[in-house]
């Protein structure tokens, strides 16, 4: 009444194992290969540079001017 599966050993040897062999050989093929990854970098080597400008100016002093004027007045009066 019920179709019992073959005995495990017979079932395995006649169905499962050949099926596995077929699948491994023709369907589930796996291969491995070596993959190489790289990145390229480059850079400039900079040089340091200095540039400059120089400036100058005189500074007047009103006090010394007044002294000179006073001295001249005294000299004129003496003569």
């Amino acid at each position: 009444m019920f179709n019992r599966p073959p005995a495990p050993s017979l079932y395995a040897s006649r169905i499962i194992w050949p099926l596995q062999t077929f699948l491994n050989k023709y369907i589930f093929q796996t291969t491995t290969s070596l993959v190489t990854v790289s990145v390229t970098l480059a850079y400039n080597i900079q040089e340091s540079v200095n540039a400059s400008i120089t400036t100058s100016y005189n500074i007047g002093n009103p006090i010394s001017s007044q002294i000179r004027q006073t001295s001249q007045d005294r000299m004129d009066f003496a003569y």
């Binding site: 540079v49 200095n50 100016y57 500074i59 009103p62």
Partner: protein, 191 residues
């Protein structure tokens, strides 16, 4: 890559009445910002940026301002990388005034820009708007990361320029004499 040489860098006066950069002459004593002028600062140092401080100005401890432009004039497509401006303390001679320098907030621009390339002042005694940090002469070359007493101006490509301001303060408590100082730029060559 050909390195930048110092002569590739132009220090110029400013033209406050111009409408575009590199279009008008600038003059010592009236380098009041605005635009890059066509006038390279003279190598004859006396009064090439500031004019003399007069006696009354000295007695009044007058503060004057002047704008200086830095232009990358290289023909070899080299940029001035990581440009820093500073005043070497060793270059300061004389007495009777102090000096400081600040970066203009306009930053780097093309030399012929029609947008103002620096703040504009109407008189030498008026401070430029937006210049809030002033550095003083230093004995040490400003270096990363703090660049103490240096102005970090950035990367200036060929045909670009940037402005800095000088602030001169008369000090009547000291003995006046011929005063001189140097503006130094340090940068790396890049392309």
């Amino acid at each position: 890559m050909t390195a930048i040489v110092p002569s590739d860098i132009l220090f110029k006066l400013s033209a406050p009445n111009a409408n575009a950069g590199n279009s008008q002459a600038g003059y010592p004593g009236t380098s009041w910002g605005g635009y890059l002028s066509t006038s390279v600062i003279s190598a004859i140092t006396l009064d090439n940026i500031f004019t003399d401080i007069t006696g009354p100005e000295f007695a009044a401890n007058q503060v004057d301002y002047a704008c200086v432009f830095i232009q990358n004039n290289t023909a070899s497509n080299n940029s001035m990388m990581n440009t820093v401006a500073w005043i070497p303390l060793s270059s300061v001679t004389g007495s009777g005034s102090t000096i400081a320098m600040g970066a203009d907030p306009a930053g780097i621009s093309g030399i012929t820009s029609s947008t103002p390339q620096a703040a504009i002042i109407q008189s030498a005694i008026l401070p430029p708007t937006g210049v809030n940090t002033w550095v003083v002469p230093t004995s040490s070359t400003p270096s990363s990361p703090s660049y103490t007493n240096g102005l970090v101006l950035g990367n200036i490509a060929p045909t670009q320029c940037v402005a800095v301001w000088l602030q001169r303060t008369a000090v009547s408590s000291s003995v006046p004499s011929l005063t001189s100082f140097q503006i130094m730029l340090s940068f790396s060559t890049g392309s």
